[in-house]
Symmetry: C2
Subunit: 111 residues, 2 copies
DNA sequence: AAAGACTACTGTGGAAAGCAGAGTACTCCG
DNA sequence: CGGAGTACTCTGCTTTCCACAGTAGTCTTT
């Protein structure tokens, strides 16, 4: 099974969730996602997702110069993005439950 | 969030899991998946997935005439398919855990 | 018997999204 | 000065789901 196919559609939520905690720039979001278990994720996927979320109005953006390298393009979540995130979490939950049912994995929401 | 995007890559496992329980033909697999919660799944997706799994050697196939309509093309899982299914379940589990972690959903495998 | 509904499958073409690869550019270290 | 690490952009490829169209069989209803 190809993990990159599984990411389709889910990357949006993952990126929104990560940015919701704290504003982030592309390279940083990439590191945070890799640390969370998406270790094979491609950089272009993250940059592309951030751009897409910015273009559809879920994120705002600002540039900050850096002493340790090139400038950083920060992204921050806004109200629209928070709404999308909440809806997406519900969708994900229902979807994951259906899969677990078919695979007969008994998972429960613990908290 | 678009459910059809979430299906990418996962449909393979879902179909394998459904067919593993009992041999099935396309229209029937479609109904079983819809009953499991994938109520918006397109028929062409299921037929396409069955064809793909057959071509890559995970399923075998045989035709059975029917009294209630056109003939039925049954698919059965084989050893290769079972191996793919087991590997895919592991991949799914790891993937879903990563998502849950990022979304801060505390799920646990109960049994 | 014609019309419609349900069953059952095939094939084509389109769209979305992840990703590889190439390119740009800045900083720091040896 | 060259290499490594950081940081981003852009183009084009690939996979996969799906809408749509078409074929074809059975059964019910009018």
């Amino acid at each position: 099974m190809d993990v990159s196919q599984l990411l389709k559609g889910v990357l949006d939520v993952a990126v929104l969730a990560v940015v919701k905690d704290e504003d982030g720039y592309g390279y940083d979001v990439l590191r945070r996602l890799r640390a969370a278990g998406f270790d094979e994720i491609g950089d272009a996927s993250v940059y592309g997702t951030l751009r897409r979320l910015y273009l559809n109005g879920s994120l705002t953006s600002y540039v900050v110069p850096s002493d340790e390298g090139p400038h950083r393009k920060y992204y921050a979540i806004n109200d629209a993005g928070r709404t999308v995130l909440e809806e997406s979490i519900k969708t994900w939950r229902g979807f994951a439950d259906s899969i677990d049912q078919v695979l007969k994995l008994n998972r429960e929401v613990a908290a």
